[in-house]
């Protein structure tokens, strides 16, 4: 699967045994990021599902995202649950803005996640 390159955002893909790793870099600040991200997420979820792999998204190298990107991530979490793909979001707890945004997403997932499927997990790492 091809990496995503959109304006100031790049997402690279790595294949590991049992996992697809997507690494975000740059900034996600476009006006309607969902128009580009959502179809690309769908391809990623399809590939993960076909391979029986879990999907891990790494945000540690991301400098900034806007609330429209948060909306796209909410849709990703919904779709992953619907498709039965285990999804992990990894962020840098040492960056305050990431901590705040992903803490909020984590609270939202606790409310959304009643399907009994693989669910969405959050992990932290620190780059600094």
């Amino acid at each position: 699967m091809e990496p995503l390159q959109h304006e100031t955002l790049t997402i690279h893909i790595e294949h590991q045994p049992g996992a697809l790793i997507a690494r975000w870099k740059g900034k996600s600040a476009s006006r309607e990021p969902g128009k580009v991200l959502t179809p690309w997420f769908d391809q990623l979820l399809q590939e993960a599902s076909d391979r029986g792999a879990r999907l891990q998204m790494h945000f540690e190298a991301l400098e900034h995202f806007n609330s429209s990107t948060i909306a796209a991530l909410i849709q990703l979490m919904n779709r992953a649950r619907h498709e039965g793909v285990a999804l992990t979001l990894v962020y840098d707890a040492g960056q305050k803005w990431q901590s705040l945004s992903f803490d909020a997403l984590q609270r939202a997932v606790r409310v959304f996640d009643s399907s009994g499927g693989p669910g969405v997990q959050f992990m932290t790492s620190e780059r600094r």
């Binding site: 100031t8 476009s30 806007n66 609330s67 409310v111």
Partner: protein, 170 residues
């Protein structure tokens, strides 16, 4: 009149690329006042979200002030965007009232996220709820003239124990 350690006033163009330039400028300028770079990044997010809303919902064909204002001292940070509108933004005023009436900024943010989860098109208000919850800002909006609205996010650094680098206005 408050003694501001920082007063920034920048023109806003109806050009999406300018949002990131102004957001970064805000972060850099706030870093001259506050040692905590993380805090400045969060305030930069506030500026970015307000600017994005201005570009999405403003009437850029009309006359009127188009400006980003950032003011800060040890007690208070004000981030304001002024932009033209075709008519008073009643939906914005209603949204701010709804946010104020929520049990907490976190509850309002969670409510907005749930709406997005149920309907991908209903992203309206998510940015403002993010400002109130993540940045712990109070939001206000008012018409400055018949055709210009000001949307302001107000924060008290002391609430996060963030100390300014300077203690006196230069």
């Amino acid at each position: 009149m408050k003694d501001w350690l920082l007063e920034l006033s920048l023109p806003v163009r109806p050009d999406w690329d300018s949002v990131e330039l102004l957001r970064c400028a805000s972060v850099q300028c706030l870093a001259t006042v506050f040692r905590d770079r993380d805090y400045c990044d969060v305030l930069g997010m506030v500026a970015g979200e307000l600017l994005e809303n201005a570009l999405k919902y403003g009437d850029w064909s009309g006359p009127g002030e188009r400006r980003l204002l950032v003011r800060a001292n040890g007690d208070r940070v004000e981030i304001m965007v002024r932009h033209p509108v075709a008519a008073p933004p009643v939906r914005l005023f209603a949204l701010l009232e709804h946010l104020r009436a929520a049990p907490s900024p976190e509850a309002a943010y969670l409510d907005r996220m749930q709406r997005v989860a149920l309907d991908p098109e209903s992203t309206g208000g998510l940015g403002l709820a993010r400002i109130a919850s993540e940045a712990r800002c109070t939001l206000e909006a008012a018409m400055l003239t018949d055709s210009v609205v000001q949307v302001a996010a107000l924060h008290r650094p002391a609430s996060l124990l963030v100390e300014p680098l300077l203690t006196q206005a230069p």
